[in-house]
């Protein structure tokens, strides 16, 4: 017993040992600044090089497309005031994007609900899988715009048709990914549900949905990307307010700079939609 206590006393007090720090090391603030610079600089440089090449390529007197400087110069009123509204389709870019986003929101909300429910059905029931999977596999390869004539014929109005195109374009990846997620629910979780005698509804909300969230969000992410692709194309055909029609209108008026500006906005909004879904998915799976 005395031996033990002596050994314990002989031990150096670990708390008093200062960590080894060699002289001449950069301070924490400098390190942090370097860390940030190493992340921010490469994308800025990449963008600068791209704009430079574009400017050079389009700077000749016979250039068919405007260079970046000319784009900014000639679209400055649109960039400066995205909120003007002169009636009809003569609106600021914000309103065009907003109209497109509204259609995507409605179509995508419908396809999310229907897609997750169908995905669970197909993932859970072998009979439903055998009955529906071949249909899904064929229909999902139909390009979005091919649905537009049918949908115009059925709805006879531009807006519901566009929303239907969004719905039918984005539902397939949601169904297929949800179904894969449900089929991959470990047997252990199913056994837990069986031993606890969970009702089908409890099983759905307490096991199926939480266990499938990562798969569902993979489907939603692909779906929202496809929605955004489809709405631009659909709006070019159906007209009205919307960023797709804005591009088509600019093309008909040979306003190349406006088209390029709209493309930049389309890209940024598409990127933002993707990030939003990713962030929600991450929040829900933790």
């Amino acid at each position: 017993m005395t031996m033990v206590s002596k050994i314990a006393e002989a031990k150096p007090d670990m708390a008093q040992v200062t960590p080894y720090k060699p002289a001449g090391q950069p301070s924490a603030a400098v390190k942090k600044a370097r860390e940030i610079a190493s992340r921010v600089l490469p994308p800025v440089l990449g963008l600068a090089v791209l704009l430079g090449i574009w400017q050079l390529a389009c700077s000749g007197p016979n250039a068919l497309l405007p260079g970046p400087i000319k784009v900014v110069q000639s679209t400055w009123p649109l960039i400066a005031d995205p909120f003007f509204d002169h009636g009809g389709v003569d609106k600021g870019l914000f309103w065009h994007l907003f109209a497109s986003l509204k259609r995507v929101a409605m179509g995508f909300a419908l396809s999310s609900v229907a897609g997750i429910l169908l995905g669970v059905l197909v993932g859970q029931s072998t009979l439903a899988f055998r009955a529906l999977d071949p249909i899904f596999q064929v229909l999902r390869t139909v390009p979005p715009l091919a649905w537009l004539p049918i949908s115009l014929a059925a709805f006879r109005q531009a807006d519901p048709s566009a929303i239907f195109v969004i719905f039918i374009t984005s539902i397939w990846p949601i169904i297929l990914n949800t179904a894969v997620g449900v089929r991959n629910i470990p047997q252990d979780y199913r056994n837990v549900a069986l031993v606890l005698r969970l009702s089908p509804i409890e099983f759905f909300f307490k096991i199926v949905i939480p266990a499938t969230v990562p798969y569902i969000f993979t489907g939603l992410k692909i779906g929202i990307g496809l929605s955004w692709l489809a709405i631009i194309a659909a709006e070019m055909l159906i007209g009205g307010v919307g960023i797709g029609f804005f591009i088509w209108d600019a093309w008909n008026s040979s306003l190349m700079s406006e088209i390029i500006l709209a493309l930049v906005y389309v890209g940024l909004v598409g990127f933002m939609l993707d990030r939003v879904i990713t962030v929600i998915g991450k929040m829900l799976s933790n």
């Binding site: 837990v192 031993v195 606890l196 409890e202």
Partner: protein, 263 residues
Amino acid sequence: MAAYLSIENVGIAFTGDKGTFRALDDVVLRIDKGEFVSIIGHSGCGKSTLLNIVAGLLQATEGGVLLEGREVDTPGPDRAVVFQNHSLLPWLSVYDNVRMAVDKVHGKTKSKAERHDWTLHNLSLVRMDAAKDKKPGEISGGMKQRVGIARALAMEPKVLLLDEPFGALDALTRAHLQDSLMEIHGRLGNTVIMITHDVDESVLLSDRIVMMTNGPAARIGQILDIDLPRPRSRVELADNPHFNHLRAEVLRFLHGHSPARAA
């Protein structure tokens, strides 16, 4: 007198691509209330299949299982299972994993406050109350298995079914959990069926050891009574001649039925 749990002439055959495979044949076993029974055998001998039949997760092809005189052929919380790989739901905290079972099983008989207390009580039985807010991904394998045991105990099952509960753990953790299980069994007097392939574990914990022959068509080869007095201590038993004799019996059986020799 009828047994508390009786496994009556159970046989099971699986039909797959390569025809019919007979896993178990004519298994008869009667277990008294409060008894701790281990089922031991080589891997692939169908011992987990037998446990799953008792749990109701698999249906016997012939025979059946009676619990307190009533046939059981569907799963239920009266036969709670502790699975080999813990099967905690990773999106729920330790507390919520147990609470989910408590709410489901005792939702009608206990008030909300009682269910909360009962959840904490069972977590403290396995000494996991301090980690109750952790997610399964943040705790060790041994701790996960403790939570799995707490979840099963919280259902107040008539029979506690343990499917190689400590098989995936290192030796020290396993010893700790065996001691915990022995203490809980001593305190609560649960009826337990445990599947294992660990000879020491089976002798240390059980009242009886059921030794299975190798499949296909596995059956009970021998049943060994472990008449060591309780409470038992692994340290004292280490040089107890009777303990070593019983251990040797099990080893002899398993060696005599080793797959290598049978082939």
